[in-house]
């Protein structure tokens, strides 16, 4: 789609753009495109007047497409959505479209959270996260933001029931995925009393995965963490596994460490 300069857009004719003043000798100058300059000039204008309108909303979308990391545009966009009384579920759907192109952008993930906080429907949110994380093409199986966001969603809305299955699928695809292990620990910490019985059950679960990869630091950290209270001696199944792996001809180093 051909980009139209703002001077040619009738709906913006009443607005005076505000130029950036980078001074005479800017450092780390960026070679801004004409489109970037024009769009930002009008963005500065609506920020100054604090305009809350449909055209302002569309403008934020253009700013975001040029620089999704601009930390002002997101807060401003939310204030416009609020002022216009728009539907937050629709807003959530809109930002979902951006996730694929900007997987590591903090603000986009924060925006998802804000939409949900404002009342957007959680339906499909965990499914979205699962498919995002497990999509082989995206290579986001360890995306820190995705996992942090998932933690927030399950805790805030008490949506714990799918998490065990989610972790299993993750570890089946890659037993070395540390984010998956951390997530399981997080779920246990938040949904159980972390009693010795609970910890023993978690350790037993972890040992299955340990057997698949005895050199897996993620798995060893997990069992070590679980066994911390009251201590490894209280978990005979763990002691047995440590002993077994430490005594192999090619011993597992983490097992040796734990002995």
């Amino acid at each position: 789609r051909r980009w139209t300069p703002f001077s040619e857009r009738a709906e913006w004719s009443d607005v005076t753009p505000i130029p950036q003043d980078d001074g005479d000798n800017p450092v780390v100058p960026i070679a801004y495109s004409a489109q970037f300059v024009d769009t930002m000039n009008y963005f500065r204008a609506v920020l100054s007047s604090n305009e809350k309108s449909e055209r302002a909303l569309k403008l934020t979308e253009e700013v975001i497409s040029l620089n999704a990391a601009n930390y002002t545009v997101w807060a401003y966009r939310r204030s416009v959505v609020q002022a216009l009384g728009r539907d937050w579920t629709e807003e959530l759907q809109w930002v979902t479209g951006l996730a694929e192109e900007n997987p590591k952008n903090y603000q986009i993930w924060h925006h998802r959270r804000c939409c949900l906080e404002q009342g957007a429907s959680t339906e499909g949110e965990l499914e979205f996260l699962s498919s995002f994380i497990m999509d082989e093409e995206l290579q986001d199986a360890k995306n820190y933001h995705a996992f942090a966001h998932r933690q927030w969603v399950v805790r805030h809305f008490a949506l714990w029931s799918q998490e065990a299955e989610f972790v299993e699928a993750l570890l089946k695809a890659d037993v070395y995925n540390n984010s998956g292990w951390n997530h399981r620990f997080f779920v246990a910490s938040n949904t159980t009393d972390m009693s010795t019985g609970v910890r023993a059950a978690e350790i037993e679960w972890a040992v299955q995965h340990l057997r698949r990869a005895p050199d897996n630091e993620s798995a060893w950290s997990f069992v070590r963490g679980m066994a911390e209270a009251p201590g490894p001696a209280a978990y005979p199944a763990l002691l047995a596994v440590i002993s077994e792996f430490a005594q192999r001809p090619s011993p597992s180093l983490p097992a040796l460490e734990m002995q």
């Binding site: 001074g23 450092v27 002002t72 401003y76 603000q107 942090a148 933690q151 540390n178 620990f185 963490g225």
Partner: protein
């Protein structure tokens, strides 16, 4: 993500008390490599980055920091450059009398405007970055600015002890807490923020693996571990870590070494972790336990044709990795 990776040169310089140890364990790169790096930082500073970096516009201050601090670490920052940098950085500073204060990420808003724009607020990570740049370039803020900036930091603290990044955003994590603590440290006044609450938030970020996550519950990671350790150090509260927690953290950091350092278990090494993990080990008093010749070899391999470092071997240099690799 680049915005999140900022360093506290001051902390590094404090660690120079251990210079002798460093010389033993960290082989210095040749002068040729140094001068190539200088050229790279100077080029970025004067000429900027290649086309297509509009996505970094909001973080320009951090890019300036990487270049200026990089040159400073190489003892190659001249007065003319300092002056040029200061002139521009002042344009990123909130100077009008308003609710907010501190620094913006760039000259995005018109500097010195008398319009009280609701949206023209300081960002805590940029405020830290701006103050660090001022310090490196031999400048400082006025008493009035100092007072306003401290107030801006105070207002960003939340009930749970953490800090949000700016007045209109409630996103909170250890990076912003570190930035706020660093701001108070540079301005030499910890009394305006709730230090105990900040400490409490940091400790909530400890994970079962032994490092710090970005928020309570999040996975332990190299960058957030640095933020937690550095914040506690600047608060004078590193002993908030029990001896067992301290040991576990050292162990976690050391396990991050493959040849260079990785940020999390079972992930690729990345030049910037030479700093995040290296500095954490320094502050934890365990630096000599890492294999520094191996790190040097990894860093060497990260240098591209310009001599500056990229994220890993075969990747082009960028200011963040060039700086973090050097600082590490």
């Amino acid at each position: 993500e680049q915005r999140s990776r900022q360093k506290k040169t001051q902390v590094r310089k404090q660690e120079k008390v251990e210079t002798e140890k460093e010389n033993c364990f960290r082989p210095r790169m040749t002068d040729i490599e140094f001068s190539a790096m200088s050229k790279y930082f100077r080029h970025c500073l004067k000429k900027g980055l290649f086309d297509g970096f509009e996505g970094l516009d909001s973080n320009r201050l951090t890019l300036v920091y990487f270049c200026v601090s990089g040159l400073d670490l190489l003892s190659d920052l001249n007065d003319g450059e300092s002056r040029q940098v200061l002139a521009w950085v002042r344009r990123a500073q909130i100077q009008q009398a308003s609710e907010s204060s501190g620094f913006r990420g760039s000259t995005f808003f018109v500097a010195g405007s008398n319009d009280e724009s609701f949206w023209d607020v300081g960002h805590i990570a940029m405020t830290y970055t701006g103050l660090a740049i001022l310090q490196i370039c031999g400048s400082t803020v006025t008493a009035l600015e100092r007072s306003r900036i401290l107030e801006h930091a105070r207002r960003l603290q939340l009930k749970d002890g953490g800090f949000k990044c700016h007045a209109h955003e409630n996103d909170s994590d250890l990076r912003y807490l570190f930035s706020a603590v660093a701001v108070c440290h540079i301005l030499d006044d910890m009394s305006r923020i709730d230090v105990l609450a900040a400490e409490h938030y940091i400790l909530q970020c400890l994970t079962y693996e032994g490092g710090f996550g970005l928020r309570p519950g999040c996975e332990a990671q190299g960058g957030s571990t640095y933020c937690g350790v550095a914040a506690l150090t600047l608060l004078g509260r590193l002993n908030a870590l029990s001896p067992a927690a301290h040991r576990a953290m050292v162990r976690w950091c050391l396990r991050r070494q493959v040849q260079g350092f990785q940020g999390r278990p079972n992930k690729d090494e990345d030049a910037c972790y030479s700093f995040w993990i290296g500095a954490s080990l320094d502050m934890l008093g365990a630096s000599e336990l890492a294999d520094w010749p191996a790190v040097a070899a990894f860093s060497s391999a990260c240098q591209d044709a310009s001599g500056a470092m990229g994220k890993a071997a075969g990747m082009s240099a960028d200011p963040l990795h060039a700086y973090m690799g050097l600082a590490g």
